[in-house]
């Protein structure tokens, strides 16, 4: 099948590639762009280990075609840190021990990154519901909830300082 020329803004950098229509965004990111932070944990769109940010929304990149991203802004876990300084969600997961094997972590971080912009001051219950599209085998979720709440507090403090 003929390839389509697709241009997207990936982690702030413009890129253009010829892509076969059936290529899933997750495979494009991992295999073509070597952005191997996003992972694959299932083939039924449940686990959310492949979650990336597309046009300011959390999307499971295993259920999105790379050709559909023409003109889109895509952000992956590799784009979260700013000049080597960890983003508040990365720091929160580190401080609260919100990861063990680390396989779900990139998807969790990308989801938390977007969730906290949609809901900057969530309750514990809202965090659990807001993170329901991401499965974890190791943590039992408890420390992930703490990590997201930790990040929420950090982001609020950063906002106050900036204001």
């Amino acid at each position: 099948m003929s390839k389509h020329i697709v241009s997207m803004n990936l982690n702030g950098r413009k890129m253009e590639e010829a892509i076969e229509p059936r290529t899933l965004l997750i495979h494009f990111l991992r295999e073509k762009m070597n952005l191997t932070g996003a992972h694959i944990g299932c083939e039924t769109s449940h686990c959310g280990a492949c979650t990336v940010d597309i046009d300011n929304k959390s999307v499971k990149s295993c259920t999105h075609l790379a050709v559909q991203c023409d003109g889109s802004e895509v952000k992956t876990v590799e784009g979260l840190a700013n000049a080597g300084v960890l983003h508040a969600v990365q720091d929160g997961f580190y401080k609260e021990h919100g990861l063990q094997c680390g396989f779900c972590t990139p998807g969790m971080l990308m989801r938390a990154y977007r969730f906290l912009q949609d809901n900057p001051n969530p309750t514990e219950e809202q965090v659990r519901i807001g993170m329901a599209g991401n499965l974890c085998r190791c943590t039992g979720y408890q420390n992930i909830v703490k990590a997201v709440l930790h990040a929420a507090k950090t982001l609020q403090q950063q906002e106050k300082v900036a204001a």
Binding site: M1, P21, T44, S58, V59, C62, L65, A132
Partner: protein, 287 residues
């Protein structure tokens, strides 16, 4: 995980999409949110030769009110339903029920139109649309036609939609003041399809039921409208006797498939229970 090869088209208008459907025939499938179609293609249950992506058609989006009806573009995502102030004010069943569908990521992509057009008895919108008495707008090469939700679902994955038609919008009358509503969904976990579900829209006058509409999820080859249960409620106060009669009528309408969510006996019993809970919750919201 690996879908078969296909050609990809991204039309910018409904007219363009319909002419592509007509030209490509039954080898083509419309690609909406892609959260039912791509999973089936990744498992090679479906192997269309071409996908017509309708995500870049602005006329399929948006929630508006005109002429006494709310029009929901078929490509409105689940999260857009949840966030819509218009729906929260005038059709609150939809945003409330959409929160019970899938998970946040899926709701950023999955659309109300796709949920309906898929024709899966496990999906939630079919029964909800029956309870809302929604009308579906279908557009094909010969123009537009309208089909009521109650007439739309013909079988598992089968609907009134012709191969060269696109579901473009869902039309629903806003709730009259004081309308009660509820969607009760029994599920094994967040993000799973219902074991059984019941959508109810209710109005009361003088302490008795004036109007009732009940839609049932995942307890038959299609979503069901429980007409006998509705009739049983009319003119009655909501008490245990009325609820038991309605639940018995709901159970009689069920024809569930047996699977990992339970056998027919369990799902049938749960449909009655979900209907009871939804009727009670809807009645409590009636003013």
């Amino acid at each position: 995980m690996i879908p078969p090869t296909f050609a990809y088209h991204a039309p910018r208008s409904v007219g363009e999409a319909i002419s592509l459907l007509s030209t490509l025939g039954d080898e083509a499938k419309l690609l909406a949110g892609g959260h039912s179609l791509l999973p089936m293609m990744k498992l090679r249950f479906a192997q269309p030769g071409a996908l017509i992506d309708i995500n870049r058609i602005p006329e399929l989006r948006g929630i508006t009110e005109a002429g006494g009806l709310i029009r929901i573009g078929a490509m409105t995502t689940e999260n857009e339903l949840i966030g819509s102030a218009l729906l929260q004010g005038k059709l609150p069943l939809l945003p409330e029920a959409a929160l019970l569908i899938a998970d946040p990521q899926v709701r950023n992509r999955g659309t109300i139109g796709g949920d309906i057009a898929h024709g899966d008895p496990g999906n939630d919108h079919p029964a909800i649309c029956m309870a809302l008495d929604a009308t579906f707008v279908l557009q094909g090469p010969k123009g537009e036609r309208q089909v009521k939700a109650v007439d739309f679902f013909h079988g598992t994955y089968m609907t009134a939609l012709a191969e060269d038609e696109i579901l473009t919008a869902i039309l629903v009358a806003p709730f009259a003041a004081g309308t009660g509503y509820a969607y009760q969904k029994l599920k094994r976990k967040t993000g799973d399809w219902a074991t059984a579900g019941a959508a109810v829209v209710l109005t009361m006058a003088g302490g008795v039921v004036k109007q009732a509409r009940i839609g049932l999820t995942n307890v038959a080859p299609t979503a069901l409208r429980a007409l006998e249960a509705e009739a049983a409620l009319l003119g009655k106060p909501i008490n245990d006797a009325a609820l038991n009669v309605a639940a018995a009528a709901v159970r009689a309408a069920c024809d569930p498939a047996e699977d990992l969510r339970g056998d027919a006996e369990y799902k049938t019993a749960m449909a009655g229970e979900m209907a009871k809970r939804a009727i009670r919750a809807a009645a409590a919201r009636c003013k």
